[in-house]
């Protein structure tokens, strides 16, 4: 999808086109695979929290408070791949 296609979708409030793009990105061009990858990342993110270990909330809150939305969005994409990689089920041909 071209950048203009995505910007037009934003302008039109067409969230389905945007999430479809995200699924294609995460699924290497396969939307259904991308949907499963998103689920995989979220379930993997849940696992370390089940025992309620101490986490660095100061870091989290400070990061959210002081960083711009683009940096946080970029981090969000990084975190997706981080948790997918952590799952041990790596579907991509190459490596990060």
């Amino acid at each position: 999808m071209s950048l203009q296609y995505l910007k037009d979708a934003v302008a039109a409030g067409d969230r389905e086109k945007l999430i479809r793009y995200v699924r294609l990105h995460f699924g290497d061009g396969n939307e259904e695979v991308g949907r499963k990858e998103i689920d995989k990342a979220w379930s993997e993110a849940l696992k370390p929290l089940l025992d309620v270990p101490p986490t660095d909330r100061e870091f989290i809150l400070e990061t959210i408070r002081t960083r711009d939305a683009a940096t946080l969005a970029h981090l969000y994409f990084h975190l997706h791949f981080y948790f997918v990689q952590r799952s041990g089920e790596w579907i991509h041909d190459g490596s990060l």
Partner: protein, 170 residues
Amino acid sequence: MTEASSGSGSGRGQLRPGLWDTVNERYPGSMIDKMDFVPLAPVRKPLSECRLVFVSTSGVQPKGTMPFDTVHPVGDYSFRRVPSSARPEDLEIHQIKYPTMGANRDINVIFPIERLRELADEGVIGGLTENFYTFIGYNMDPERLERTLAAEIATAVSEEGADIALAAPA
């Protein structure tokens, strides 16, 4: 360049009929419709006198440089200089869109730096530029790619005195 290799519209001829339609179905609006005809530059002297630059979308880069941004949803528009004298063990690959297993065993399968040095040593080509140029092919904004990345590489290549370029997609 023939029409078959330059056209991107389904009615203008193409090497693999239906390819653009297939890609557009999966990535609507992604295909570049390049209407400008860009003539190939003729080689003006024997290959054995030409200095070659290698330009690659392989995502190969010197260890210690900022990894290519393989996670960004719109792509990475930066490039890396790879010294043509670099040893394979000094290089690494950051790219998730093609299989890198073989290239991680022998980087020459995707980035033939040692083979090109051999061609230079044997006199098949006149020599190599000091640096080769790499980037990743996942870029969703072709206009930005042309305006920044391609222009910057073209300038750098020109400054290095390249006579010929080997451009290889990963």
